[in-house]
């Protein structure tokens, strides 16, 4: 049996350990480096306005990535998150003309909860792998949305003004989206660090049998988790519709894979038991800045994708090395 605690810790090893315990520092360094590179390539681009815009676009990504982060703690994933966001945004816009803002937004979250319940049922009760379950439920959801669209095509749609205010407005140059995001992030931190539910997410991902030996009924945890992340995805969809100011059948699609990437870059292990939402937020910022950078360099779409993919693989490889040689 390897007994790491008895091995002498050299300075190099200690640095590695420190990096493993606090990947957030390395991520922030990377983020700052990317911003510096951007400023070097195009002097003057980094100003208040640019920062506001970057934050504005990083927020829905970071929120959708919360769905991935929380499910990944248990070793799962939520590929239906983008579909849920799209459905909620779309349905909201069709309901607002009839029911007003409040009810429109409220009712639009019902399909999100339904998909969350479906995911919960599949993952918790039928023990379908989350990847398959959420892939399937996302497709079903989008299919239902297409049917729904046919019946509402003539009735017109309108994004709730409150959401447009939240998505595009600024208060003293601070994007209003932060009024939603700051409490949201605080909520996620609280859940992951200070609640029994958060503890059990990590524990179930690290070793489900150990969690059961401590008294957990895993189905309850997965049910609650998938309903929670569906609600988060729904709220993300509402905000994103406010940012884009219109809706479509593929509203949040472009956010899905970056949301997975943000969580992974942020240091959350797809195998479960490890990670933090703080890393995911920085990850979302890194991806957003990277997008700007690649646009600035006038990279063709193909090259952008290659670089995106390469970065995800590289970062994952680094994390695997850091965490497995403990």
């Amino acid at each position: 049996m390897s007994d790491a605690s008895l091995q002498p810790d050299g300075p190099g090893r200690r640095a590695l350990l420190w990096l493993r315990e606090t990947p957030i520092i390395a991520l922030i360094v990377l983020l700052v480096a990317l911003v510096a590179l951007l400023e070097y390539l195009s002097p003057g681009i980094v100003n208040e306005r640019w920062i506001g815009n970057t934050v504005k676009f990083a927020i829905p990504l970071a929120m959708l990535a919360a769905c991935q982060t929380l499910t990944m703690y248990t070793g799962g994933i939520d590929l239906s998150a983008a579909a849920v966001a799209t459905i909620t945004g779309f349905v909201m816009a069709t309901l607002v003309p009839h029911f007003g803002q409040g009810w429109g937004i409220f009712i639009a979250l019902v399909p999100a909860v339904l998909i969350g319940l479906l995911n919960g049922f599949g993952v918790a009760i039928c023990r379908v792998h989350p990847l398959i379950m959420t892939l399937g439920s996302g497709l079903i959801g989008i299919g239902c949305l297409q049917v729904y669209q046919r019946y509402t095509i003539a009735t017109g749609s309108e994004v709730a003004p409150v959401l447009e205010w939240l998505g595009t407005g600024r208060t003293r140059s601070v994007p209003n989206a932060l009024f939603l995001f700051v409490p949201f992030a605080a909520f996620v931190f609280f859940v992951q660090n200070r609640t029994g539910f958060g503890r059990m997410l990590y524990a179930a991902g690290a070793n489900e049998r150990a969690a059961r030996l401590s008294g957990l009924r895993p189905w309850q945890l997965y049910f609650a988790l998938y309903v929670l992340v569906a609600l988060i995805a729904g709220v993300t969809g509402l905000l994103y519709a406010g940012i884009i100011r219109t809706t479509s059948l593929s509203l949040a699609d472009p956010l899905l894979l970056p949301s997975v990437a943000a969580a992974v870059i942020g240091g959350t292990s797809i195998f479960g038991g490890r990670g933090s939402y703080a890393g995911t937020i920085v990850g979302a910022l890194i991806l957003t800045v990277l997008g700007t950078l690649l646009t600035l360099l006038q990279m063709p779409e193909g090259a952008r994708r290659i670089i995106f993919g390469g970065i995800i693989l590289l970062v994952t490889a680094i994390y695997v090395r850091l965490t497995d040689n403990g």
Partner: protein
């Protein structure tokens, strides 16, 4: 039947170390054509390591093996097979999702020879397109043996192949094995059952502490001699010094009661009562049903028959959470099962406090920290590597798995071989902990594979053999020799006759 000529297999001076642990020092075995040799040894004698070396699964550090007069050093199990040595283990090595024919093709087994062997072993209704998954365990065992025989090995190694077989099949298997030997094949036979060894073996080779300590002809009355050899002069300083008579505390009312529990053919009709304030030892050789018994009480397996009672009332344990709600907590033998290895010591110890859905809300952080700190101090857990449990030593990991329940209060504690692979000092702390918990009114069921522990930790000991409870030994009589005899099923009858005799 008589051994003739030069030995077909000869192993001499075999040594093997794992890190600082010397599993084998001087293991020896000689085997002639036509001979069946029983390989025997108590837990930890090095039997498994020796078997792995003979079959090519491990490489030895020292010593020499000759097969058919040629020195050999098997690089893999496949190499050992090619050289003519084929093992058959307790768990049939067949792929469940393929049919019989496909399994045979994988190993290159000749089908005709295989079918002839299968019929000889008494299975008449086998079809080659039967899926392995659909066949009962007893049949699979037979197929596995038939497959090995069809390859015409020079040396056949049979490791606990009769475990969990019905009696009539055991007889057939034994007869077939004897017939093979009479045709000139050499067989190494490993079994916990003396009756089988007496039936078919010619000689018995006994290992203790990694060395051969005896080689004797099998004849009536050999059991006592073998047990003596397995025990040797037990003057282990560590255990001698630590030996303190168990202080019988105040034994309370019955807390956990089993009535006729049967589980999946591995546990049969087991009944006992565990009282508050008592440490009840469970002793058994490997694979006698103790795993299933503990799993069933902890809610991981559903019993086929029988009842579990808590405080006199029957409880239904459909899930570990049910057992925990009833105050029953399991510390499993494999620490990797019990710990979230990549989480912190605090997370692991605090786990039971937040596992139930009604405790999913905000954690009272200060109270939790105090609770964890108290457990860490009480168990003297090494605090240098608190960030990840996997960085702790085995002993400290085990303290975390137990400490978790100390921190949350314990009523009925099931400890499954809690001192496996940990150092002497930590072991003693665990014995003391058991005593302390019992003194505070907990009821503890303590399975151990180290018989010497029983005296130090347990008030009373039950012995399980072949899934049945065969003996119950009070504290004063639970010395190692007595327990080992009982574990091999040797004393129960004596005890009954003694009890029946007029005083």
């Amino acid at each position: 039947m008589a051994a003739t000529g030069d030995p077909i297999l000869k192993a001499e001076g075999i040594a093997k170390s794992f890190g600082a642990v010397r599993a084998l020092r001087d293991a020896r075995l000689t085997l002639h054509r036509g001979e069946i040799v029983a390989l025997m040894g108590a837990n930890g004698a090095g039997k498994s390591t020796f078997v792995k070396i003979l079959t090519g699964a491990l490489r030895h550090d020292g010593g020499e093996i000759t097969l058919n007069g040629r020195p050999c050093r098997f690089a893999s199990p496949a190499a050992a097979r090619r050289a003519g040595l084929i093992p058959v283990y307790q768990e049939p090595a067949l792929i469940p999702d393929l049919d019989v024919a496909m399994n045979l093709r994988l190993g290159g087994t000749p089908v005709e020879a295989f079918l002839a062997r299968v019929r000889e072993l008494g299975v008449d209704d086998l079809r080659l397109d039967d899926m392995i998954r659909a066949l009962p365990l007893a049949t699979l065992r037979i197929l596995d043996i038939a497959r090995a025989l069809a390859a015409e090995p020079d040396v056949l190694l049979l490791d606990e192949v009769t475990a969990a077989l019905p009696t009539d099949l055991v007889k057939r298997v034994l007869a077939a094995v004897r017939a093979e030997a009479d045709r000139g094949r050499a067989i190494i036979y490993i079994s916990h059952r003396f009756s089988e060894i007496a039936d078919i073996c010619d000689r018995a080779t006994v290992l203790r502490d990694g060395a051969k300590v005896g080689d004797l002809a099998v004849e009536p009355g050999i059991e006592e001699e073998v047990v003596e050899l397995m025990l040797g002069q037990k003057l282990d300083a560590a255990t001698q010094v630590a030996r303190a008579p168990v202080q019988a505390g105040t034994i309370g009312p019955p807390q956990l009661e089993l009535r006729g529990l049967s589980v999946a053919g591995r546990v049969e009709n087991v009944s006992f009562t565990l009282r508050a304030g008592e440490v009840l030892g469970v002793v058994g050789l490997e694979g006698q049903g103790q795993d299933e018994l503990f799993d069933a009480i902890a809610g991981f397996r559903r019993p086929d028959a029988g009842q579990v009672l808590i405080d006199g009332a029957p409880v239904r344990l459909r899930d570990p959470a049910d057992a925990i709600a009833a105050g029953i907590t399991l510390v499993p033998g494999n620490r990797a099962e019990a710990l979230a290895m990549i989480r912190s010591v605090r997370d692991n110890i605090a786990l039971p406090g937040v596992a139930r859905a009604r405790n999913w809300g905000a954690i009272p952080m200060r109270a939790e920290a105090a609770r964890v700190q108290a457990a860490v101090e009480r168990l003297q857990i090494d605090t240098r590597a608190m960030g990840e449990v996997r960085r702790l030593s085995g002993g400290n990991q085990q303290k975390v798995t137990i400490g978790r329940w100390i921190a949350h209060g314990v009523r009925t504690l099931l400890l499954f071989d809690p001192t496996r692979g940990i150092d002497v000092r930590t072991k003693r702390q665990i014995y003391q902990l058991c005593r302390d918990l019992a003194a505070q009114g907990a009821a503890i069921l303590y399975y151990t594979s180290e018989l010497a522990e029983v005296e130090q930790a347990c008030d009373r000991t039950i012995v399980i053999f072949g899934g049945r409870l065969v003996d119950e030994i009070p504290a004063g009589e639970a010395d190692e020799a007595h327990l080992l005899r009982a574990a091999y099923g040797l004393t129960a009858r004596d005890r009954e006759t003694a009890a029946g005799a007029p005083a």
